[in-house]
């Protein structure tokens, strides 16, 4: 294995290596570049067929930028994105088009991501028309089938987006993504704008579709409960970097990074009286324009040592398939709770 986190022999759909995305910040009349927002600062992972990798983190951690850069909706500053073994970061628009069929995106906001002037049927059928995959009666039949597959009535094809509820619009977005039989679906906070009862419908649909078509999902979310429900593997991001990446059960059962630990402790549980040891982080996330040196988390980390302030920890596999970027978790070291060390 080449040391990419999550590398296994399974069929790899997406391999992201050292991905960086820095946004220049312009100021003044000459609009000179005065700095950069280090939105994504060296991120690597793989996703296999039929697998869901979740990117989780708080606002500004770069999770959505990873999703957009993988789709090349934004151009990466550095790094490679391999889709089915082909690096797509250097491709021109025309060459990229062929590969785009293999990956589709579902957006967070079902209101702004559907063209209000197009009928629902035309929205779902557009990818098919774009790629010249179907027309006429065949096209209509395929659209009808997609509608039914995502739980919409086929006779709703003539309606316009505003006639659908939030959950139904998200189903339209999913149907549109499915239209060209992609292998990878990038879902950027797909259920965050929905009420919980509707959120359940959409999550169930995503899981069913994955099993049916062996889809790979890159699932971006800030909601730990959703991530725990849908993710096979979870990558936790903080200020543009992955700080921990592990299988679902390992990450939630034995979080090894102090930030993951704090994140899990902060999320309220629907269990009255659940007594938990609570590590409440103080302060705010630092600005991604001026990330702290060394470990980005050291300013809020209760266990930080002198070394954390100067030396950037590498993402290392400290247990099989469990990757952590923390100086306090040396390879092969003891894995007791960090609290004991800090005491």
């Amino acid at each position: 294995m080449d040391g990419t986190p999550g590398a296994t022999a399974a069929e790899t759909v997406l391999r992201v290596k050292d991905l960086k995305k820095h946004f220049p910040v312009h100021r003044g009349v000459l609009s000179r570049v005065v700095g950069h927002v280090f939105a994504v600062d060296g991120v690597s992972f793989e996703i296999h067929r039929g697998e869901t990798l979740c990117l989780v983190g708080e606002s500004g951690c770069g999770k959505s930028t990873v999703a957009k850069t993988v789709m090349r909706l934004q151009e990466p500053t550095a790094g490679t994105v391999e889709l089915n073994g082909n690096d797509i970061t250097k491709l021109g628009q025309e060459e990229l088009r062929a590969h785009r069929r293999e990956m589709q995106i579902v957006f967070q906001d079902p209101y702004s991501s559907l063209n209000p002037r197009m009928s629902a049927g035309a929205i779902v059928g557009e990818p098919l028309t774009n790629y010249g995959l179907a027309h006429g009666a065949d096209l209509q039949a395929r659209i009808a089938k997609l509608f039914e597959r995502v739980g919409l009535r086929a006779d709703a094809m003539a309606k316009y987006p505003h006639e659908f509820s939030g959950g139904q619009r998200q189903r339209l977005g999913i149907a549109r993504a499915l239209a060209v039989n992609p292998r990878l679906i990038v879902a950027d906070e797909p259920v965050s704008a929905l009420d919980v009862s509707v959120q359940a419908q959409v999550l169930n649909l995503l899981i069913d579709l994955q099993e049916e078509f062996r889809l790979a999902y890159l699932f971006v979310s800030h909601d730990l409960a959703v991530v725990e429900h849908i993710g096979h593997r979870i990558a936790v991001m903080y200020l543009g970097r992955i700080v921990e990446l592990a299988d679902n059960a390992d990450l939630f059962g034995e979080p090894l990074h102090p930030y993951t630990e704090a994140l899990l402790a902060a999320a309220p549980l629907p269990e009255p009286g659940a007594k938990r040891e609570r590590l409440i982080l103080q302060g705010d996330v630092p600005s991604p324009m001026k990330p702290p040196p060394g470990c980005h988390f050291h300013t809020r980390c209760p266990y930080a040592e002198a070394r954390c302030k100067v030396e950037t920890p590498k993402l290392e596999e400290v247990k099989p398939a469990h990757w952590v970027a923390c100086h306090l978790r040396p390879r092969g070291g003891p894995f007791g709770p960090l609290k004991a060390r800090a005491a």
Binding site: E58, S59, S165, G167, Q168, D195, V196, S197, V198, Q199, A200, Q201, L203, N204, I207, H222, L224, A225, V226, E228, H229, I230, F252, G253, A262, L263, L264, A265, A266, A267, P268, L269, P270, E271, P272, G273, A274, K275, R276, R278, I280, L281, Q282, D284, V285
Partner: protein
Amino acid sequence: MTALATATAAPAAAPASSDTILSVRDLRTQFFTRDGVVRAVDGVSFDLKRGETLCIVGESGCGKSVTALSILRLIPRGAGRIVGGSIKFEGTELTTLPEDQMRKIRGNRISMIFQEPMTSLNPVLTVGAQIAESLHIHQGLDRRAAWDRAVEMLSIVRIADPKRRAGEYPHQLSGGMRQRVMIAIALACNPKVLIADEPTTALDVTIQAQILNLMLELKERLGTAIVLITHDLGVVAETAQRVIVMYAGRKAEEASVEELFRNPIHPYTRGLMGSIPRRTATGRRSNIRGRLQEISGIVPSLREEIPGCAFAPRCSYAVDRCRTEQPPLDPHGPYHLAACWEAARVAATPR
């Protein structure tokens, strides 16, 4: 249309006692749109006791925020109004109170925190001035004293370097800090009741934990009663003493927090609890990538009159009666109300 303040003995969990600071009876708030009347709050009754935390939970459009705005009489005039029912605060009827009297209560005895701190703060005033303003108006403090107290409030809500921060504008603060400022403004006059409408929904989870902790700690210290409006059952479980579940402008269920989570009766409450992906304190999921329980269908339009139970079209227990007759809030145990005709059958069904 019901006349104002002619509250009939609407069912409430407990009779209004001296312990009760806020008493809402059969509240009806409607909005008048081109497409018809929207019955946003459709006969809601509840009591708030001194110093307690009451959560109102429900999904978008269930009327939870409009209930809060009605209590403070903040329903935009022209768009909608309270058309019936009574709201009594320490014995004073608020629905008919003249506006100048209401202004003395709002922000002083009853205050409110909103979801989005950026839009609720004035962008052209320093945060210190915004806290001092209410102290100056309500408590009659002079400018100097009001400013000093504003700085003190900032340190109470644990903003580091409060002297400097008091002179800053909202855009210079982070989302979490802005919400702390909102709390400082809301608590500056030692209100008896704090209404918090989704106060942490716009915040990240680590910041949410800070803000919820702060609110509960200040509540203990100042004895303020809190009405916390949220859609998040996790927040409910961690903060509430009592819970009201709302659906389509009506109260579906009311119980103590332990009772509600242990023994939910209304099919909507049960559906809500089954539909959230659950994390548990033990770190083990109850439902590993299994199917989440769905509530099929969508919420009803509030533009049409709903003759029976508002949840009937989505309810798997619904019988004919549910579609024609509105169920009353019946007691189920010492402190537990649920509005469901088929409660006995639901309760007998394991979740």
